[in-house]
């Protein structure tokens, strides 16, 4: 049995309240011990004394050792769009970014709206994926917003949440039913909040930049209105509501107030929404085109405040691979989305260096919080008995993003050429090192 001893790192585990120099011992795919000092070959409660040759020693001196990151918002594109990303390449990109688990959205082809698609994804993930893959099932059949998908079947097959992400749920009546019905299985309902009657044909944030570029705008109100609606529905139904990719100041304020009022709501923000402003579009940069769009400085400030005060629980990537035939074209015709798994950590660490949030807080928003929301009981913490999913970070590692070097199959990142500091140097999934940088 494979034994790993991670020695001398600064272990940060928000769940057990640990932040200090510890050794972490991994045995049988589980965390077997976290102690100030574990000499190799020493007798331990789990695993016992082994042959010294059996032990893989990882010297983590000067590094951060934390629970493996969980991205609760990834698009893997398989089945159906394997030319953009596959489960295999998406999982490799995740590992390279320090993510040990990813939740993949249902907008594949066919849509993950029935158990057979869920099982297909899980089978492929076991066979080809180096990280844990947790499918998110569709709320509605075919993401059409007309009738409920078989949510009970989806849950049994292994879905950890439901969402029509990519398509806003315009049908308020169906959203109510979905929230009520998902409650039966204690499933999280993840909402892409966008009133399409207002966003209409918009392709970027509404405002001066859009006007100057002659591009149709999407006002903040398109998101705010739906966040307000879903909060009202969460109050009505008692469902577990999670707001995907929050982009506006108004959303942050609505979510904060809802939390104050005791409504079961959580929220995520993407690194690109708290890093970039809508000016990134200037030059018709299709790698700055996504939905929701990049917003204004006051929105960016509000997102950071929301991360700081806990209104926003999770940092998620919304990793959305697109081929160049969908990106190297006219801006208004280009597809939405950017890849994010491999840049998320470095961008998030800027929040720490800018003193917006602390490092333990960041780790929590990347591990413990998503684990809790998705009901992944054995993940998101370095406690004894938990799955041995561990991310080791070098805070001082400097690197320059080169889109050609990324593990993802697609190249659509606005951060190409960016100088970054801090990166995952080892990613361990179930006690196995799956990435070394």
């Amino acid at each position: 049995m494979n034994r790993i001893l991670i020695k001398g790192g600064r272990v940060i585990d928000p769940v057990s309240g640990i932040d200090g120099l510890f050794d972490v011992y991994v045995f049988g795919g589980k965390i077997a011990a976290v102690k100030p000092s574990i000499p190799p070959g020493s007798p331990l409660e789990k695993g016992g004394v082994g042959d010294l040759d059996d032990w893989t020693i990882i010297d983590a001196t000067g590094l951060i050792v934390c629970p493996g990151f969980i991205d609760m918002h990834t698009h893997l594109r398989e089945p159906g769009y394997e030319y953009k990303e596959t489960i295999k390449t998406g999982a490799m990109a995740a590992a390279a970014g320090g993510f040990t688990s990813i939740a993949c959205m249902a907008n594949t082809n066919p849509v993950n709206d029935n158990a057979s698609v869920t099982r297909y994804i899980l089978k492929k993930a076991v066979e080809e994926g180096v990280v844990n893959v947790f499918p998110v099932g569709a709320i509605s059949k075919g993401l059409k917003g007309e009738t409920l998908a078989e949510i009970g079947d989806l849950k049994e097959a292994g879905c950890v949440a439901v969402s029509d992400d990519g398509r806003p749920m315009m049908n308020t009546g169906l959203m109510r039913l979905a929230m009520e019905y998902a409650g039966l299985f204690n499933l999280l309902v993840i909402s892409h909040c966008e009133d399409m009657a207002i966003s209409a044909e918009g392709v970027m944030n509404e405002g001066f930049t859009a006007t100057r570029l002659g591009l149709k705008g999407i006002p903040n109100a398109a998101e705010d209105i739906m966040v307000a609606r879903d909060i009202a529905l969460a109050e009505l139904t008692g469902a577990k509501l999670h707001i995907a990719h929050v982009s506006t100041k108004g959303s942050v304020e609505l979510i904060r107030r809802a939390k104050d009022n005791g409504i079961r709501i959580s929220a995520e923000v993407t690194p690109h929404h708290f890093t970039l402003k809508d000016e990134a579009v200037i030059g018709y940069n299709t790698n700055a085109k996504m939905n929701p769009p990049l917003r204004s400085q006051s929105d960016v400030d509000a997102l950071k405040q929301g991360l700081k005060d806990g209104t926003i629980d999770v940092i998620a990537t919304d990793h959305a691979p697109q081929d160049i035939v969908e990106k190297e074209i006219e801006f208004d015709k280009a597809a939405n989305g950017i890849i994010g798994l491999e840049t998320a950590l470095s961008l998030s660490l800027m929040l720490v260096s800018d003193n917006i949030i602390t490092l333990p807080d960041l780790v929590k928003k990347l591990s413990a919080n998503p684990a809790k929301l998705l009901g992944l009981d054995n993940k998101g913490a370095l406690k004894v008995g938990a799955d041995a999913d561990v991310t080791i970070i070098d805070l001082n590692k400097e690197w320059i993003v080169d889109s050609r070097e990324l593990k993802s199959k697609s190249r659509n990142t606005p951060f190409d050429g960016w100088r970054m500091k801090g990166r995952a140097v080892k990613t361990i999934v179930g006690g196995k090192v799956v990435y070394e940088g």
Binding site: A210, G283, E330, D332
Partner: protein, 308 residues
């Protein structure tokens, strides 16, 4: 003299002296179109491709005539009859055209920014002949030339632009063009057709035509681009015309020596009353005439002379 740039994509990134050079060059080319033999050999051996992804009569003909009067070889490609209809991307079309070694591609495209994207892909010059709701630089230049010719100056004039500002590339180019040359520009539209943050371009924003035109020197009426409206942005054409159309009654509030511009095509009786479109103070046909001269100047300043 040549412009020290490869492309003409926007008025926004032209400097004041570049605009003035284009206008003075255009002025000198006007005479060519008055000759019996309307041709100069200046651009002999140059190849100009008019690549039009949107229907156009005036602009395409104007660019073609301008090219031919400069003795360049002009080729017209329209989207409906081209490989675009077969699903080719703009980049692939551009690369294929470039392989035939043209000197300039004139692009009209429904997507804002398409000329900028094209210019990034290819080495020859690109002239933007109108992109989406973004810019239409040659139109603004011919408008500037027309006003300068009639009123003797641009500096200090008050220009009012009325119509669908949201969707108008003519408005954007003219706001930049007139303000760069020292005029004061006001835009007028119902709030449903006024784009967010437009005042930051350096213009006044007004909602009622009557308030805007009292001290104006130039009124520019824009066509209502119903084809760009997904849903109607005003209740009826009748009501729009009543509130924002230029008729004799509203014009009574303007100065006596007002001049009227319209980029065409005009919708008679909608944004402009028929008698006003045909009145002596309407410069609509002067604009069209100057369009040829401005486009000759653009070709000359980008392609003319010896190449470094």
């Amino acid at each position: 003299m040549r412009l020290k740039r490869k492309d003409i994509l926007t008025i926004e990134d032209l400097a004041k002296d570049e605009i003035e050079l284009i206008l003075s060059t255009a002025q000198s080319f006007k005479e060519v179109s008055e000759r019996e033999i309307k041709k100069v050999p200046t651009l002999r051996g140059r190849t100009i491709i008019n690549l039009f992804y949107e229907a156009s009569t005036r602009t395409r003909t104007s660019f073609e005539i301008a090219a031919k009067r400069m003795s360049a070889d002009a080729i017209n490609i329209s989207a409906s009859s081209s490989s675009v209809a077969k699903g080719e991307t703009l980049k692939d079309t551009a690369k294929n055209l470039e392989a035939m070694n043209p000197d300039c591609i004139v692009l009209r495209h429904p997507s804002s920014g398409a000329p900028q994207v094209l210019a990034g892909f290819i080495k020859c010059s690109v002239i933007n002949a109108g992109d989406g709701s973004h810019e239409h630089p040659s139109q603004a230049l011919l408008d500037l030339l027309t006003v300068k010719e009639k009123l003797g100056r641009i500096d200090g004039l008050k220009i009012v632009i009325v119509g669908d500002i949201s969707h108008s590339r003519v408005a954007r180019s003219n706001i930049y063009g007139f303000t760069k040359l020292g005029a004061e520009v006001s835009v007028v539209a119902p709030p449903t057709m006024m784009p967010s943050g437009i005042a930051s371009m350096g213009c006044n924003v007004k909602n009622r035509i009557e308030d805007a035109i009292t001290d104006a020197d130039v009124i520019m009426m824009l066509r209502i681009q119903l084809e760009r409206h997904k849903v109607p942005l005003f209740p009826t054409v009748r009501e729009y015309s009543r509130l924002f159309g230029l008729d004799r009654k509203k014009l009574g509030k303007a100065k006596k020596d007002i001049v009227i511009l319209h980029p065409g095509p005009i919708n008679r009786g909608v944004e402009i009353a028929s008698d006003i479109a045909d009145a002596p103070y309407s410069l609509i046909l002067d604009q069209v005439k100057n369009g040829v001269a401005v486009r000759m100047a653009l070709f000359y300043l980008l392609l003319g002379g010896s190449r470094e």
